[in-house]
Symmetry: C2
Subunit: 340 residues, 2 copies
DNA sequence: CTGAAAGCGCTTACAG
DNA sequence: CTGAAAGCGCTTACAG
């Protein structure tokens, strides 16, 4: 691990200039500054507390924070599980709020004694993740795709299991199967739609765009959807939800208006945690192991630390975890003669 | 904020000795060490990264970690809400695992650049919180009572709302009202039982110890309880759960065995988050605002920072937040003639 | 815009 | 067990 002296020697600058560059002092020449920041990332410069190197890892939100979500909580559990052995501590961060006006992201992280970051993002904030990665700061994005190959990613495979979910409904003789996905696009959700399309097409069923619903990924979104389909002349007999909370909301609302599940409507949801066990009947769901995702994210970060940054700078880590369809009580065979 | 030099001057020691004491070097005399640690807490010694003082606050588990719980997630949201303005970062910590063999807790926190801690504890680990507070390290315990007046505490008032909940059931003409509380004692849960007893007694109803059930505070605990009472000759007509998850489990299990809620059984639960909206019918519950609890916890800590520790060392902060009974669909009037 | 020098915060052989 | 001294990591007036 490099000190400011080491960077100065490597770059043939004085420690003073390196220090200024790392502290975002405006006096330093832009070109020099750029070289210093590059070297800091290549040589893995780490600040010290007293004489000890800092050992923090950030759980950093690039977009809106969603600390309260079961997914994030499970991720953190997995992360801390693995981190403790190495003596690392987890710091929670909102990237946009934490960064000072004329500061790069690496700056900001280093100022806080952070060696690497696990990034949570919305699709709107993907650009921000790309920037952080391109600065050369060790980071792993959880749960997003990137075209850019140099960004390390850890995520679940939604496509296969989405296909499984729809196939399960088709096996139960359903034909009018609808899918409900988050209003906000992200690559993971696009996969879920792709899985739906693939399954329908391969089994010879038509893909009707009116059966693809965009909803808010909250309980309320599911409630609204039930009201919408209740008013349809030929309503779907099965619903596939690409998010946990609207699936729960839909089950409740369906029961409120007197439908019996799965007799009047089959529902498949997604589950990051144990929500499927909290409703009655227990919900058939695609389950992703968010805790394991957290563990793997740390391992990826650790790999980025251990390889000398300069040699393997462009070798990003990619890990894709399988998800599983768990069949429970919210799906059942299509009853012949069910109308409205 | 004091440096090692300042401590040395104050104590008439060399900086070397102070440094050794703070680093837990065994060479230092026990008495000297004790004096140094006291001074560090009194003068609010803070280590530096480079030349900047560290700005971390710990979310520290004294007992088992429960990061995944909705309560903890909401607490963290509230905490980070308030912390960001001051430029603080939140570090997640397991106290027992983080502390080195011959190290005090203040040592450990300072080694990590932490200025103050929000402590989460189980009743089994209360002793540990007392120790941290007695070392003089700025800390606030969330959600526990302490007899010891010198410990800062932020918690919800369970007693009043528990009384309200039972009164609500009595208003609905229920008489055989049972309460189900966590197997593991903690002061907050003792309050919930006390509220139950007070309400029953004040309304002239007998308190039957066979109506006080000890269960695991998990979904499974609620499921088991329903099976137990289903086998009772004179089963309770209403259940008051002092924890969120078993209440959910009980609602599900009751419906599984064919009971209708609230017709066959009224249920009141506790809710830290939004679980009450995820079941059908929506659950009547005592709601505590865990997010607000987090905000208040930070404010308490900030107060401990701002007052000169030496002057006000024994003036702990205490904040007790109100909770509220929200009536929904899981409670209803006792139907006359209900048997079995 | 950069470096040499002074200096703070901290730690650690060395001497006692 | 303690301190004086050397020295690392870093920053910041000062000079150019």
């Amino acid at each position: 691990m490099a000190s400011i002296r080491d960077l100065a020697k490597e770059l043939k600058l004085s420690p003073a200039t390196v220090s200024r560059a790392l502290n975002n002092n405006p006096l330093v020449a832009p070109e020099v500054r750029r070289r210093v920041l590059n070297a800091a990332n290549k040589l893995q410069y780490v600040p010290t507390i007293g004489r000890r190197e800092t050992m923090n890892i950030a759980f950093a939100y690039a977009g809106d924070r969603s600390i309260g979500s079961p997914f994030d909580a499970a991720l953190m559990e997995g992360l801390t599980d693995r981190m403790e052995a190495g003596g690392f501590d987890l710091v929670i961060l909102d990237v946009k709020r934490a960064v000072h006006p004329r500061e790069t992201f690496s700056h900001m992280f280093r100022r806080k004694g952070i060696r690497g970051a696990v990034l949570r993002t919305t699709s709107a904030a993907k650009e921000l993740c790309t920037q952080i990665a391109e600065e050369g700061f060790p980071c792993v994005v959880v749960g997003e795709h990137f075209d850019n190959d140099s960004i390390s990613v850890v995520r679940s495979d939604s496509l296969t299991s989405s296909r499984d979910a729809v196939n399960h409904l088709i096996d139960l003789k359903h034909e009018r199967i609808a899918i409900a996905v988050n209003l906000v696009d992200d690559s993971d959700h696009l996969d879920r739609i792709a899985g739906y399309r693939e399954a329908m097409t391969s089994r010879g069923l038509p893909v009707d765009d009116r059966m693809i619903f965009r909803i808010a990924a909250k309980r309320e979104g599911g409630i609204q959807l039930i009201r919408r389909i209740a008013a349809m002349p030929e309503r779907p007999t099965a619903l596939f939800f690409a998010d946990p909370l609207p699936a729960i909301g839909a089950m409740m609302e369906a029961q409120s208006i007197g439908w019996s599940i799965p007799r009047d409507l089959s529902i498949v949801g997604f589950d990051d945690a144990e929500l499927r066990f909290m409703v009655h009947p227990t919900m058939t769901a695609i389950c992703q192991d968010a805790r394991e995702l957290g563990r793997v994210a740390f391992e990826a970060l650790d790999l980025l630390f251990s390889q000398k940054g300069r040699e393997l700078q462009n070798s990003a880590v990619r890990r894709i975890l399988a998800t599983q369809l768990e069949c429970h009580g919210s799906t059942g065979p299509l009853l012949s003669g069910v109308e409205k």
